[in-house]
């Protein structure tokens, strides 16, 4: 056990747990933040994605110890932002959401991508999504959603 301090969704947070605990378990089991999902548990599917220092990270393979001193944002907090409003509307308008299990992770991937690259090319979008698997859509509508978001949110990123 150790005291690990980090920022979680804007708030200073202290967790007294084993540092090898998976960040995903910290979020879901200790904090009740269930927006990040477990799809594979080995960093393949991206359903567990969260922002760490505003970059996308797979929380299922990030140990709590590596979260020390970092700034962690989950979909629960990101969904309060203006950027989220643009992204979520674009996902709806593009029809990008089917079963939804991958979608919170996709939103995180979208934010991480646009934050670095506000006007990504189609190839850059596909690379930005390469760690977020979707089995329903074939991805094209998600790519379209990100293009829409980038266009409509011009200046936000």
């Amino acid at each position: 056990m150790a005291e690990i301090r980090f920022i979680l969704n804007g708030a200073e947070t202290v967790v007294n747990e084993d540092p090898t605990m998976r960040l995903l378990d910290v979020l879901r089991d200790l904090m009740g933040l269930t927006g990040a999902k477990e799809g594979c548990g080995e960093g393949e599917c991206g359903a567990c994605s969260v922002l760490v220092d505003h970059d996308i990270v797979n929380s299922c393979i990030m140990p709590l110890g590596n979260a020390a001193g970092r700034d962690i944002m989950t979909i629960e907090e990101f969904s309060k932002t203006e950027r989220y409003n643009v992204i979520s509307r674009a996902y709806e308008d593009a029809g990008a959401v089917q079963c939804g299990f991958c979608i919170p992770g996709m939103i995180i991937a979208t934010e991480s991508l646009l934050n670095k690259n506000p006007h990504p090319s189609e190839i850059e979008i596909r690379d930005g999504l390469s760690g977020n698997l979707c089995r329903c859509t074939g991805y094209n509508m998600i790519v379209k959603a990100i293009q829409l978001a980038a266009e409509r949110g011009d200046g936000l990123w």
Partner: protein, 696 residues
Amino acid sequence: MSDISKSIPKSDSAGKIAGETIYIGDMVLDDMLHAMTLRSVHAKARIKSIRLPEMPEGYFIVDHRDIPGDNCVNIIFDDMPVFADGKVNYIGEPILLAAGPKRKKVKEIIDSIEVEYEPSEPVFGYSKSVVHHEFEKGDAASVFCKAERIIKGSYSTGYQEHIYMEPQGVIGLYEDNKTTVIGSMQCPYYIKNAVVRTLGTGQENVRVIQAATGGAFGGKEEFPSLMGCQAAVAANKTGKPIKLIYERTEDIETTTKRHPSRIDFEAAAGEDGSIEALRVRVFLDSGAYIGLSGVVLQRAMIAASGVYTISNLSVSGDVYETNTVPNGAFRGFGAPQMFFAIEMFIHHFAIETGQDPLALRKRHLASMGDPTSTGGTFRDPIIMGDMIQKAIDMSGYDEKIAEYSKPGDHRGIGMSWVLHGCGFTGSGEQKHIKAVVRLRKEKDDMVTILAANTEMGQGAMTTLRKIAAGVLGIPIEKVIYNNPDTDLVPDSGPTVASRTVMIVGGLIARAARQLKEKWVPGKEILVEERYRQPDYIEWDEDKLRGDAYPAYSWGVNVVEVEVSPVTYEVDLKGIWAVYDIGKAIDERIIIGQAEGGLSQGISYGMTEVMECREGRIQQRNMTDYIIPTAGDCIPMEIVIMDNPYPLGPYGAKGAGELPLVGGAPAVALAIENAIGKRIDRIPATPEYIMELMENG
């Protein structure tokens, strides 16, 4: 009124995007116990003894001895136990559950259980037939007797794993003499009927509620009945909520998959080059229990002549039991295997008989009024001619196939033609399902659709609400569709077989018309509709004779590829498709189904490798079982035709499965065109392509 096809926002999107939608794994109930499964490590064995550790307070073991009713998962065949009793038939077969408040302790208990097995010789391959069907059309035997030339082909297909993003999971509860199962599922009433039987209790004592379902594709058709029964038995025994959520590796290794198959053809070539008679033999590997395999076999067999009219047809097929994980429903349900095989075979037949494949295919293409493979009739207009031309024009098929067929060119293009029988095979709806839907109008004039069909991403909630609102002429916001709860909704049947819009949506449209007639503002009104089979349908379930389906959806798929001569990897270069699904209730939802389905079909044909060795699945996680990423997929051009089916709501037919069915043959034909070598199995992996290119 605006066209029903015009897209509207999906009812369920906002919550899913925000991460607020609660899936089964997200649910936490007071006093809940976590359950884990102890599984067989042998493909076939007798269980001699099970030694349990000393159980700490509050921890439980649940096994076959705790089952009050039948130790049998109610599917079609009564061969699959809820918990193994004295013997196991595949690696991963569930033996018992351990449950308790702390997952760590539960895991320790599972790890410390000692099972003594007496292994015996397992059965693999196509040797032990457990279901056999056959049917004839015309007189194939005498054509073959006189045939001058007989062309043969044999095709095989591998497993396909659903990889719904959300692994399987249920919660079982027991309160006041009532058992409730909440979970990720397609068919609440399948689970209810299974739990009633396993508990040996009355219908009134079991309730099933669908949780938000993170993808299914058939994988949550019959399988959740097993987990539902286990969780129900455990909840009854312990009196506490039981949460049973699969790990991904557990899900991949032990849940149902698409059946591996082998399909053999023999065709008698007529003097004019046509196929005078076709003999087809289907082999399906069911795994350890039959489950739905017999019905999957029927759908495969009925599709034996593809979209073609062949006058003399002899079809036989068997389901073979093996000591491997049971296979089951998967989008397409036997049709993807057969359409891969028949599309390749007709192509190969043409080449061997020195004909242009496209011309031969066009010559045999079914038209309205033609007899179906089972001697029924294609009653509705078939617009494949237009669709094919459209696909050819969009893709530049004619020019490309000529250019790419030159030696040394590693580009290729392939086109598949498919149909999909909508709804249950034969009289399934009438005899077995007997769907009922209700609409309930409240005093505030809000209308709730009462049906058991599930939203699993395919858009059922939005589509069904649209149908009701459209017929009633009220705004969509006035129509409610909740996740089904068997205590509140009648049994409108399972969410399978591309039946939800055509059959259930059709009933909802009828109910809405009834409600509209009775409509009085401010008054509570309840209306009900029951399924009635169209009068013209005649089906002999034993002989597989007559109209196998009330209607058919049709598709043309074109895939263009480039194969690397260095690494044999396949690059997708273009994807085009044209579908006739009657009428799109919501165009964007249909495009979503089309793109997602076709993408699954293409990767079934070229990417997704799953092997079973000595009864053990080799690709056991998402690192090893590869599905496409966004970087593997490319934009698609999809056209949805308007060809309304008179008995479907707004003319709609089935759409969910159709796009998957033609993906594999289109990409396989494209690869064949690229490398100039005949492909007779899928997935057409780089390893296989290397063998073909290097060894001829």
